[in-house]
Amino acid sequence: MITGTPKPIEEVLEMLEPYDNIIVAGCHGCVTVCRVGGEKEVQVLASTIRLAREAAGNKINIKEVSLERQCDPEYVESMRPYVGDYQAVLSIACGAGIQFLAEKFTTTPLLPGINTGFLGVTERQGEWAERCQGCGDCVLHLTGGICPVTRCAKSLFHGPCGGSVRGICEVDKEIKCGWQLIIDRLKALGQMENYGKLKPYKGWSSARDGGPRRIIREDMIS
């Protein structure tokens, strides 16, 4: 899922300074699951903003909405009837959702309420970790199912580097060396021969380096 963290409230308040009538929009997708942008967070954030603003003698009116997903046009359209009644929308969906709103509602400023994080997994309740960078060219079959691009701090294809000590990355004690994980896994799978092969240079064009990406599947376009 796409993860994120709440923006510091001071930053949000600063963004909102010019406005006194806004929408706080949550998303029922990934950000609900990672507990940063669901209906409950809409309530908490809206309450927090109202309190802060009223205390500062600068009351703000907030409409609280939570879209099924902010990344699908039909759901986004459901806001259209009333979005014009507000000065701005503070979205706590991921960056994709926020932009999609901005794209659809061209006259309304869209403000981010969260910092979008990464494509990750829930390691346990309250702890998420990155697993994929969406490079568009998956090599997981060669690396024991562990992504060298994401899991190695240097995205090395022939790791580990000298900074790997006892399975820990030199960058941070909390980061496991991705290459140690890959090697452990290859060993367990009996696929160490994959390690000994020189990998071709990574083609980054399928990643973000090729410009904003688009997937078109003709068979599905109706």
């Binding site: 580990p160 000298g162 140690q180 020189l198 990998k199």
Partner: protein, 308 residues
């Protein structure tokens, strides 16, 4: 001869070779390089010039190479893949070769987190292994990786670094093999203190016949003090300093520890000379270049052979 460099020649002639290292300054003052070069000159077969080591911004490696070359030292350019994508790397390789640099060490580079600009974006377009391969392709096939023909192929004696003590244990030798397959001509190792472990490493490498495919220069660093030893053990990733080594230097009074460090380094080089497959030493006298002569000479490796 792949590159025709002095180092390549010395090694090819079967001499026990010596390289050293020279870090460019954190500034634009060429005199600093020249001063360091004076300590190195005549004592080595080639001298490494580091490339923004530990992600601290320094004078560029190529400029450093040129400055020491002016001083009559054969340069060995280090090149990390952290800061440059494959376009910049190719371009710099061509430039270095054009300027007469013939020795190259391909590295990943320390993570930017440790340097001046931890907020910087890293590149890592290709990794060091792929850089070796890239250089070899350009040198041996005379083409760009893209397939286009080069207007003059670069000439490099291609090196890489290995850490015989790094985790995980089981990939140390396979990894060396991989580098050889990629195109490495020589390797310089991380500085060695644990001789037992290093000998075991060499034994494993010999089993695979790797010592015959690549020239192995064993890294050594003289210890200035017991404190430094402890610091390195604690702070430098993959540094294996046995307790006995530390005890030995710590047994000396403080003012005698530096001399002891040099004595121990010389002993170590003597010992390395006897290890089958070790083709030379890489003496990293970090900010202590003035002792190079004492060390290298002490180990009976002076004067350096001059080959034409």
């Amino acid at each position: 001869m792949k590159s025709g460099s002095n180092l390549e020649k010395v090694l090819a002639a079967g001499h026990f070779s010596v390289t050293a290292e020279c870090g460019p300054p954190r500034g634009a003052d060429p005199e600093i390089v020249r001063k360091k070069a004076a300590f190195v000159r005549g004592h080595v077969d080639a001298c490494n010039v580091t490339d923004n080591q530990t992600a601290m911004v320094r004078m560029s490696s190529l400029a450093g190479c040129m400055l020491i070359k002016e001083q009559g030292i054969e340069p060995l350019i280090q090149m990390v893949v952290r800061d440059r994508n494959r376009i910049a790397l190719q371009s710099d390789l061509l430039g270095a070769s054009a300027l007469g640099v013939r020795n190259l060490l391909c590295l990943s580079g320390d993570h930017q987190k440790f340097g001046d600009d931890p907020q910087a974006k890293n590149v890592f377009d290709i990794d060091s292994m792929q850089l070796i391969h890239l250089v070899r392709t350009m040198r041996d096939e005379g083409v760009f990786p893209s397939g286009d023909k080069l207007e003059g192929a670069p000439q490099f004696f291609i090196g890489c670094a290995v850490n015989p003590f790094a985790d995980p244990f089981e990939i140390r030798v396979p990894r060396l093999k991989l580098k050889i397959d990629a195109g490495a001509d020589f390797v310089q190792t991380q500085c060695i203190y644990n001789m037992d472990k290093f000998k075991k490493y060499m034994e494993d490498a010999r089993k695979e016949g790797l010592h015959e495919k690549v020239k192995i220069l064993a890294g050594v660093t003289p210890l200035k003090s017991a404190g430094m030893a402890k610091f390195m053990r604690r702070m430098v990733a993959g540094m294996d300093i046995p307790e006995a080594v530390i005890e030995r230097i710590a047994a000396e009074p403080k003012d005698k520890q530096a001399a002891k460090g040099i004595e121990m380094c010389i002993e170590q080089i003597e010992e390395l000379k006897e290890v089958e497959g070790v083709a030379g030493v890489h003496v990293m006298a970090i900010e202590w270049e003035e002792k190079l002569e004492e060390i290298i000479g002490g180990a009976g490796l002076l004067p350096r052979p001059v080959l034409v």
